[in-house]
Amino acid sequence: MADLTKLYDVLVIGGGNAALCAAISARREGAEVLVLERAEKFYRGGNTRHTRNMRCAHDAATDTLTGPYPEDELFEDLLRVTEGETDEELARHMIHDSKEMLTWIQEQGVRFQPPLGGTLGLGRTNSFFLGGGRAMLNALYDTAETLGVDICYESEVTALDIRDGHFDSATVRQADGEKTVRAKAVVAASGGFESNIDWLKEYWGEAAENFLIRGTANNQGTVLRMLLDAGVQPIGDPTQCHAVAIDARAPKYDGGIITRLDCVVFGIVVNKNAERFYDEGEDIWPKRYAIWGRLVAQQPDQIAYIVFDHSVLTSFMPSLFPPIQDDTIAGLARKLRIPADTLEKTVSDFNAGVVDGTFDHTILDDCHTEGVEPAKTHWARRLETPPYYAYPVRPGITFTYLGTRVNKEARIIMADGTPASNMFAAGEVMSGNVLGKGYAAGIGMTIGSVFGRIAGREAAHNARN
């Protein structure tokens, strides 16, 4: 049982993958550990709930990985997706440690599954959790509790007492009031601020009101804000977030994986004026998966519609709601409440511009348009088989890039460049160090597990000395 009056060795703020790896690792180093998770038990784990895999380097195939994925290749992939926005030393350190992570995380009870149908062709590079992210969390929580880590749910940290880079105590709000918790070291593993609409508005203005958040409402970034206010050095572009286009009819929060729509490449995308605005066939799905959130965010009212015809209805993964349908383009436009004559013109112009080729959605094929602005450079086929369908889409925010600067020990760096004496960070709250831009499937979990494990170990050592 947690005893908030005692002096803990390590306080972990947060309850996701990074937090639990930190708690377990600190406990295995002999520390007395307290985990404060803001969410109620069911929603514990932040974005980890919605994850499915992690990307770790390995030199040979395993039971659950189809081939080797050397450190250099992982680093190259990271360089490509971030376009160089990564701290090479930290990134290489993480990638090196990621090799051990494959065994370490399984020793903590997490299970992997062999590559199956839904694993998106990532069978060589990514390890998929049996049962997904919540199964992983269940295993980590179970292990942490068995080891004697104290865990409190519905415990939001509302203040941090930090002086000159030294953490002394945290104020935690629980059902029966506010309390002060003291610890010799702290690990911030409290995620980003993607669920904090007011904060997003600082960069996006009123448009942020129309954003949907793919994870729980608990990712408010309050701990990140407090750390930055206490003189911690920020990292990552505060204005940036990872956004994909998701079904606009999804709930505001926690719609998760089933809200995503894989059909952009099979049709056209129009805005509320029924006009196309970007090349739907630019690159292979899901490589360009992430650009559409931003594109839609830049359209009026942050709304767009993926329009396609009956011939491709079953060419992509199903999602939480059926598409809106009608026998005519004009009828579909009326249901969507967008200008019918404009949509008819947009579709007929597009159809007229299609140059026939050999359709193959797995490669950059030769089906394209000519004389249409913007062009659809691949997979362009006429919309001509009724009924016609549309999915309304909005930006779905997955995570934010702003974080706290850390060093190889996962130790927080203060604004003046000095390492904090007893503060560490792991997971999304510091992912900007490694992932300054873009995304590669499973990399967030690698950051969380590797830096969580390091942060917990270093915090325990710190507390002992």
Partner: protein
């Protein structure tokens, strides 16, 4: 949308329904809900490594009633997908696969029951099985008494043919042969209807390889282990013991069946009449099986009691308890008969045992027993279609 008035009220940005709801019409509300869940799950697929249900689901895009009955019977109710699901209650998507599959399964037993006039026996199955068992025992006791002097019932009979002092062997064979054949016929008719519903008519032959795969999968209870992590009780850790107790029950049942078969061969081939000495094969098989049928059902019942009601179909609890109780009583009365067969209690115990066994056979097509048959058939279907898909 019908008519322009509704069309103008249509809000393209409002959630049209609960997550996963499709427009496919289904025979029952349970099947509609099963379709909704499978549509949600097919959009997620995180659970595909847990069991056969999700890979089978992934081979489909839309779900007919037959598809859903197939998936429901493929589900072994291990519970892992409930604890692993980010959308299970209290999440508003309300994804509770183990419970809804259990409800759909129970409905399917009733739907495929033969003759359909008897399908009502599934409605209040606990009561129905209890009444049939009580009646059956009563008829055997009354029969023994009516046939003979009551003194015969309470008399001491020993040695080969002792049982037949109470009931002639041929009578016993006729009664039990008839009820056994009837049960087999009813089960075959149910399976026939089920198989027709879940397979493509153009490709409905079951090949030997698929049947053998299903035998192995059923024999190991391959899918009653949460994909290797064990079954759960709705508390996120694998503490469930049903797989072990199911093995006691199933193999106990098979051993008892073997005991009866060997005894039948003794009787007709060797001319040796029951009862047999304790060290003889039918008795040894019967003792081993009987012990399994005491431990297994008792353990299963206790495990079911501990299980979180949220992932169970509580309305079918009576059916489950009735079947477990019948197996337990079959064994208990059989073992009691073995221990006390040389005393004056033998007659009554024989009536009791035969009454219980008779009602067990009679209610086989109309109770929980059918779960094994339909699940086996579903496993054959799965083996066949996953081989065809190259898995």
């Amino acid at each position: 949308m019908q008519g322009t008035e509704q069309a103008t009220e249509f809000d393209p940005l409002a959630a049209p329904s609960k997550a996963g709801q499709t427009n496919t019409p289904h025979a029952t509300e349970t099947l509609t809900e099963t379709d909704r869940l499978m549509t949600v799950c097919n959009s997620c697929r995180y659970c595909e490594g847990l069991c056969a249900v999700f890979p089978a689901m992934e081979m489909r895009r839309a779900f007919s009633d037959g598809d859903l009955n197939y998936l429901a019977n493929l589900c072994h109710s291990c519970g892992a997908c409930y604890d692993d699901c980010q959308f299970s209650p209290p999440h508003p998507f309300d994804v509770n696969v183990p419970r809804v599959m259990a409800e759909a399964r129970a409905e399917s037993y009733r739907h495929y029951a033969w003759p359909s006039a008897f399908s009502g026996l599934f409605a209040r199955n606990g009561l129905a099985v209890s009444v049939i068992a009580a009646l059956s025992v009563f008829v055997f006791i009354a029969g023994f008494v009516g046939w003979h002097d009551p003194a015969v019932l309470f008399g001491v009979h020993t040695g080969p043919g002792a049982f037949y002092a109470l009931m002639p062997h041929n009578t016993m064979v006729v009664i039990f042969g008839a009820v056994f054949l009837y049960a087999i016929l009813a089960l075959i008719m149910g399976v026939r209807a089920f198989w027709r519903d879940i397979t493509d008519p153009a490709d409905s032959a079951a090949d030997a390889g698929s049947v053998w795969q299903a035998v192995k999968d059923a024999g190991h209870l391959r899918y009653l282990d949460g994909g290797g992590a064990g079954c759960t009780n709705g508390e996120e850790t694998a503490t469930d013991t049903r797989r072990m107790y199911h093995h006691f029950t199933f193999y106990g049942f098979l051993l008892c069946f073997a005991a009866t078969s060997v005894a039948t061969l003794y009787h007709y081939l060797l001319g040796r009449e029951a009862p047999y000495p304790w060290y003889d094969l039918p008795v040894l098989l019967g003792i081993a099986g009987g012990v399994g049928l005491l431990i297994g059902p008792a353990g299963l019942l206790a495990a079911k009691w501990r299980r979180d009601p949220v992932i169970q179909d509580e309305a079918r609890f009576g059916m489950e308890v009735a079947f477990l109780a019948m197996l337990f009583l079959t064994s208990l009365t059989g073992l009691a008969l073995l221990v006390l067969r040389d005393t004056g209690a033998m007659g009554l115990l024989l009536a009791l045992h035969l009454g219980v066994v008779f009602s067990l056979f009679f209610t086989m097509p109309y109770g929980k027993f059918v779960h094994g048959i339909y699940r086996f058939v579903a496993l054959v279907r799965y083996a066949k279609e996953s081989r065809a898909a190259g898995h």
